[in-house]
Every structure is written in structure tokens, then in C-alpha cells.
Symmetry: C2
Subunit: 358 residues, 2 copies
């Protein structure tokens, strides 16, 4: 099992370091190879995604990614900025399926904006299509309006598009993910208004015929944005397009109140994946030893489940994280009265100890 380890910038190296410690204690035959990415790669090699980093990622079964970006790179030309590294990895590896869990741990329920009874035990998996939709659709640009009420006026435009194979493959991913969970999929669309999402709904319904064991329902995106606030626990797996998924996955992550806890994954058709915390590189706290490594450790658990087929090891890590929360250990971002404040390394080592104690 070949894992490319790309720590990146900001708090990336610190948090990835703890996740690597956790992986090593599992005693599985991993080959871990580290390379620079993002601003760190730009500083060392003049490019945020150097060829040897890309090749390492492409040749691995999975990529464990920290985070990229720092204010000091803001003035670089767009193609040299740290964020381009992740876009390059997505594109070259064909990572079309973005998994964004929103989980509310019982010990952290108070951190949510929502009333505790609405989020206690929340466990949603939002699956966002990541390489199509209006975020990439051509043509796009500025022009004179070719028709309409303001014909001739300056206008800007973009194109929303989804082809049948793009929808089919993300639908398969969603139904298969639901099989490992509570067997319910909600497909989010805007079929009442958009041609693209009427087609989305039709194709998802067609693919569903191959999954009689999975329950499927359809919901409009505006209603989904409401239901996430009103009754988030009604969802199991949510599958949707790139733009709706961008909006809903961020809304759902905020429901939990603790973004420092949320892992994410991006997968391709072969099961290769890139795993990273949902939070960013937090350059303001980089190097201070206070960053929360749990989202990265939980990303490593997702990697074991979805790319390396090691469900048992994945579940062991998740239980270990539960155990350290139960012990009352908290990094500053999730700290509250009556719990014990710890740093990045202490938190990582507590997870290692909990694993060994299992």
C-alpha cells in the first residue's frame, strides 16, 4: 500500500506528522513517501506542484495531504499559487468524487450553533461531484448581451453542463457509499428550473435501478439548505453537483460547530484518493504546536476505508479519536470549560496511546 505524504504549508506539516504516527502504529505494510507541495514546493523547486510530487501522487494508492496556502504567496501569478497544486492533483488524478462528512461528536455537541437535540449523533456524508458543472463548463466569459431585455449591454456568462457518464459515475459512488452506511441517498437538484438538474435527476433515478437495497429520494437545493438547518439528522448520504455540493457541504460542516474535526476525501474511478482535513492551512497558528490534528487523523481513517480497503483499521482509528475526546483532551479550537487543553503532539500521541490500548 503506497501512500504519498504531502504535508504542504502552514499547519500542514504538524498535523500530517501526527497522522503518520497513527498510521505507523497500525502495523500494516504501508510504504510512505513524502514530498513537498504548495508554497513549500514553490520555495524549494519554483512550482507548487513539481513533477516529482505529481508523479509520486499518481503512482501511489492514496495521497495524505495536509494543507496549502499562506498570505506570503498571495502576490504570485495565479498558476504559481499554492492552491494550484490541489487543482493540479484533482485534474491529473481525475478525482471526481468529493466526500465531505459532517459528524457531530457527542462530546462536542455544545459547539454547534444548533440546539443539542438536533445535532447530537449527526452523521451525514455529502458527496459532491468535483470536476464538472458550472465551475468548469465552457464557454464562459464577457461579451455584449446577444439577446434579451438588455440586448447589446455588457454581460458575463457561464455554462452549467453535466454529461450522462459524469452523473452515472458519481451516482454509483453515492449508492456504494450508502451501502457501507444507512442505505439512504438523497439526490439534490433543481429539476424544476434547470435542464441540467432535470437530467441529473433522470440519470440518478436510472442508476438507482441497480441498487434496489438503497432508498433514494430527491430534494430541491433550496429545500435541502432549509432541511439541513431544520432537521439535519434526516440525511444519510447526500449526492449533488459541484456548485450545490460546495454550498451544502460548507453549510453542513458549520452545523457541527467544529470544523477542526472534519476530514475529507476526493476519489477517482480506480479508488485512488486524496485525503485532507476540511480546514485550511491556518498560517496564523503554524509552528505553534496548537493545531488540531484530528481532522487529518480522521482523513487517514477515510483513506484506509475508501482507498486501501482496510475497514477494520479505519474503524480502530475512529474509535481511538472517540476515546481521546472521552478522556477530555481538547486542542484550543475545541476547548471548553471542564476539559483539558492539549497541543498538537499531545493530541496525536493520545490517539496513538488509545490505539495501543484497544
Amino acid at each position: 500500500m503506497k501512500i504519498a505524504v504531502l504535508p504542504g504549508d502552514g499547519i500542514g506539516p504538524e498535523i500530517v506528522n501526527e497522522a503518520v504516527k497513527v498510521l505507523k502504529v497500525l502495523d500494516l505494510p504501508f510504504q510512505l513517501d513524502e514530498a513537498k507541495v504548495g508554497g513549500a514546493a514553490f520555495d524549494a523547486h519554483g512550482h507548487p506542484l513539481p513533477e516529482h510530487t505529481l508523479n509520486l501522487a499518481m503512482a501511489s494508492d492514496a495521497v495524505l495531504f495536509g494543507s496549502v496556502g499562506d498570505w506570503k504567496y498571495d502576490k504570485l501569478e495565479r498558476h504559481l499559487r499554492p492552491e494550484q497544486s490541489i487543482l493540479g492533483l484533482r485534474k491529473n488524478m481525475g478525482l471526481f468524487a468529493n466526500f465531505r462528512p459532517a459528524i457531530c461528536y457527542p462530546q462536542l455537541t455544545h459547539a454547534s450553533s444548533l440546539k443539542p437535540e438536533l445535532v447530537a449523533g449527526l452523521d451525514i456524508l455529502i458527496i459532491r461531484e468535483l470536476t464538472g458543472d458550472i465551475y468548469f463548463g465552457q464557454p464562459r466569459g464577457r461579451r455584449e448581451a446577444p439577446d434579451g431585455e438588455f440586448k447589446g449591454a455588457p454581460e458575463a456568462f457561464d455554462t452549467m453542463r453535466y454529461s450522462k457518464p459524469e452523473i452515472e459515475r458519481i451516482a454509483h459512488v453515492a449508492f456504494q457509499a450508502a451501502r457501507k452506511r444507512n442505505k439512504r441517498v438523497t439526490s439534490v437538484d433543481k429539476a424544476n428550473v434547470l435542464e441540467t438538474f432535470q437530467f441529473w435527476k433522470d440519470v440518478v433515478t436510472e442508476v438507482h435501478a441497480q441498487y434496489p437495497d438503497i432508498e433514494l429520494d430527491h430534494m430541491y437545493v433550496d429545500n435541502a439548505a432549509m432541511q439541513l438547518v431544520k432537521a439535519p439528522k434526516r440525511f444519510d448520504v447526500v449526492v449533488t453537483g459541484n456548485m450545490f455540493g460546495d454550498i451544502l457541504s460548507d453549510e453542513a460542516s458549520m452545523l457541527t460547530g467544529s470544523i477542526g474535526m472534519l476530514p475529507s476525501a476526493s476519489l477517482n474511478a480506480k479508488g485512488q484518493g486524496l485525503y485532507e482535513p476540511s480546514h485550511g492551512s491556518a498560517p496564523d497558528i503554524a509552528g505553534k504546536g496548537v493545531a488540531n490534528p484530528l481532522a487529518t487523523i480522521l482523513s487517514a481513517a477515510m483513506m484506509l476505508r475508501f482507498s486501501l480497503n482496510q475497514e477494520e483499521a479505519a474503524a480502530r482509528i475512529e474509535r481511538a479519536v472517540q476515546a481521546v475526546l472521552e478522556q477530555g483532551l481538547r486542542t484550543p479550537d475545541i476547548h471548553s470549560e471542564g476539559t483539558q487543553k492539549v497541543g498538537t503532539v499531545e493530541m496525536g500521541e493520545a490517539v496513538v496511546a488509545a490505539l495501543k490500548a484497544q
Copy 2:
């Protein structure tokens, strides 16, 4: 001041009836003319928006609208369905600016999904552009993918478009509305990814130069969906496009926990407007005398403020609604222990009494 009264279907007639009682007690020179719309108009005249109804609306200063729709019309051809009446009114009257307030009354704070301290005193005005964007953009349809990874495969597509004059006019509406409030506007876009919304941001910024007394900030739509959950009180006026506004206004309305309380308005360039409750026609409770008339009564207050230039009368109605809530009167949808359950007519008459007592 000519007001077209269009009660519509379901609970529409009951709730509009109470709003009309409230208007009549103000002793202002209104001319109220009633006409059928929606399913009721289809039953009587064979069309959901008969010509005489449309003409009455066009010739009035404002339309007070109840609600349309009932399951029994679901099998009609699309152009005969009740919902078409509202699309027809929007189109013919040029109602491009949709006002969606999200207000959390102190007496109803407990009904929100959010913790009371996060929503107590919430008062946001979301202004959604209503006639452009990808919901109406041409071309759209199905075809063979002309290019891309799946060239030749069946695909569907839509076009997102905004012209400069469309953005300018909604920006003016937002800045002017902010002047009557807390003088802050948040423009929501996705300028980092979409050409249309980079243009949106540029044009809103340009229009802002004419409003030095108003504070403007810009926020990405995914972040806005998060901030509404995390800290909704940070917003005053939010202005955005048709699709983002659809999603965010519904999310915001759900934050309040009492949709039966929320009015809405749709305005054109001349200040003519259509005023209606945010909730629907609720055919399941139609005719039972239990519907909440307050959203419609508050819509009448918005009508006085935004189309009829009667700010004082608008504020009087809003104070009267506050007073009946303070008295503990509640229709079933907002009822809770320790408050007094009343029906539609009792609630309307309590508002009338509160107005007289001012």
C-alpha cells in the same frame, strides 16, 4: 392608492381577509379591488391569470397576494397550473427585486433550530434578483456534449448570465433599502470561480461609489451559507443573484423557525410591488380557520413601506403584530406551552384591536 387584492387558493382567502381588515382600520385612502388568481381563477375562468386579473394588477400601485396552488391542479398542463399566475405577474410587471426578510421575534426565539442567543433579535433582509441568472438564461437544453472528457455523450446544459443594467438596478435597490435600515450591504457572489459573479462583484462595487454612507462587503456563497448558521446577526441587507438568493433566502427563513411569520415582496423599477407571505397555500388546512395570517399582515406592512410610501402606517402594523405576540396569542403553527391558541380570525381581529389601541 390602488391595491389589487388577489387571495388565490388554499388558505389564501382566509389570510388575505384578515390583512384587508387591518388595512381598512388605518383610515388611509385605499382603493381595494379584488380578483381571482391561481386555481380559483382557473375554476372560474379557465386560466390561472385571466386578462382582467392581470390588467387590474398592472393598473394598481401594489398587489396584495395570498397564495396559489392545490394538489388537485397537479395534473393540468404546465401553462394552466396555479403557479404560472405568479410567474406571469412577475414577468408582465417586471418584478426584478425580491425582498425576503428573516426576522426572529423575541417571543418566538425558542422555535428556531439555533440557540436563542444566536437568533434573538435577528433581522436580515435578503434581496434576491428575480428575473435573470441561470433560472432564465438561454440557451439551455439537451444535446451531445460538443467537447470535453465525454465528447459525444448525452448532456444537458443551462446558461448563467447577468448584464450590467440588471446588476446595477438590483444594486441600487439594495443600497437604498440599506439606507432605511442599518446601512450595511453584503453582496454574495462566487467571483473566485464564475465569470458572471466576478462581473456581479465589479458592477456592485461600481454602483457602491454612489452610496458613500453605506458599508459594502463581499462574501462567497458557500461562506454565506456557513455564516448564516454560525452568526446570522452579522448581516443587515444581503444582495445576490436569483439562484444564490433562492438558496440563501430559504436557509435564512428556516433560521427563524417560524415561516408562518415571514412576509415577502417583489418590486419593479417604478416601485410597484407584489406582496405575499413566504409560506405556501397549505391546502391541508384550508377552510379550517387555523392558518396564521401574520405573514400576510406583515406583507401588507411591507406594501405600505415600499410601494405606497406610508412608513408610519407600516411601522404601526409591525408594532401591532408585536403587541399580539406579547399578549401571548398564537395560531397553531407557532403555539407553545403557556401561550393562548387562537384561530385565523381571532388573530386578525387582535391585530386590529392592537392598532386601535395605539
